[in-house]
Symmetry: C2
Amino acid sequence: MPPPPAPSPADEDLGLVDGLAQLSFLVQSALSEIAGQHDLSVVQIRMLGILRDREPTMNQLGRHLGLDKSSITGLVDRAQRRGLVTRTASSVDRRSFQVSITDAGRQFVQQVAAEFAERIERCVAPLTEADRKRLSRMATRIVTTDARDRGIDLRTTPR
Amino acid sequence: MPPPPAPSPADEDLGLVDGLAQLSFLVQSALSEIAGQHDLSVVQIRMLGILRDREPTMNQLGRHLGLDKSSITGLVDRAQRRGLVTRTASSVDRRSFQVSITDAGRQFVQQVAAEFAERIERCVAPLTEADRKRLSRMATRIVTTDARDRGIDLRTTPR
DNA sequence: TATTGTTATACTCTATAACTATA
DNA sequence: TATAGTTATAGAGTATAACAATA
C-alpha cells in the first residue's frame, strides 16, 4: 500500500494515465471556455477548424467529426443560421452539398485559435524550452500514430 | 513558405498547441467511447470518479465539476435512477444532501478506468519508456501548476 | 439497391430564473 | 437576508429509424 498521499512540495507524479486524462480535461476546458466567450461550442469550433482548409460534403464532415449524418444536419443548420458556414449544391452529385466556411466563420475560428494558443502557452510555461519541444514531439507522435492506425486524416482541430 | 506538406516518414511536428489539442481530443474520445460502451457519458464517469473517495454535497459536487447546481440535480437524478449513486440527508444542514457512490457505481467506474488505462497505454506504446516517464512528469507538472493557480483541488478524474 | 441528406423523436447535458425550505 | 436544492424552461448536441431524392 502506498504511504499516505504525502502532499510533498515536489509533487507526486499522477502517473501517465491520470496525468493525460487530467491534461485533456484542462485543454478541453480551456477550449470550451474560450469558445464560449464567443458564444460557440467546442464542436462548432472543431467544425470551423476543419472547414478552414476543406469544403467537405455533409457526409465527409460527419466522418471527420465522428458524428452521425443526422447530427451534422443540425450542426450545420445552427452554424448556417449564424452565418458561419454555407451549403452549396454539389455539381456532380445532386444529392450532396458542399459545406464552406464564410468570412465571418473564418474570423471566429482564427480569433479562438489565437486565444487558445495563448492560453496553452501559458499553461506550458512551467516547462523548460527543451521539455516543451519534447512534449510537442511526443504529442505529435501519439496522435499521428493513432491516426495512421485507424486510417484517418489528421488535423481535425485548429491548425 | 514551407515546402508542400512532404508526408515524410519522419512526421512533421504539429507544434505544441495543436499537438496538445489533438491529444486531448484523442484522450477524450477514448474516454467517451469506453464510457459509452457501458452506456455512460463522460460527465457521469467524472462524477463517479469524484465520488470514489468523497461524499460531497450537491453544491460541492457542482464546484468539482464546474457545473451549475441546477445541472447537478439532473445529473444526480439520472445516476440515482440507475442505482449508481445515492442521496443522503445531511445531519447538520437540513437543506443539504450527501451524494455517495453505490457498489454498482463503483464497479462501473473501476471497469471504465481499467479499460481506459489499457487504451491509453496502447496509445503511448510508441514512446520509449524514458519518454513515457517524462511525459507523465510533464503532464503532472502542467496540471498541478494550473490547479494551484486557481486554488482548486485536483483529482476530478479517475485516480 | 445503395447512398445522401433531412425529419421525427428521444435523451443527455447545460444554463437562467423563479421557487421552497432551511439557515 | 443568504444558501441548498429543485423545478420550469430553453437550447445545444447526439443517436436511431424512417423517409425522399438521386445514383
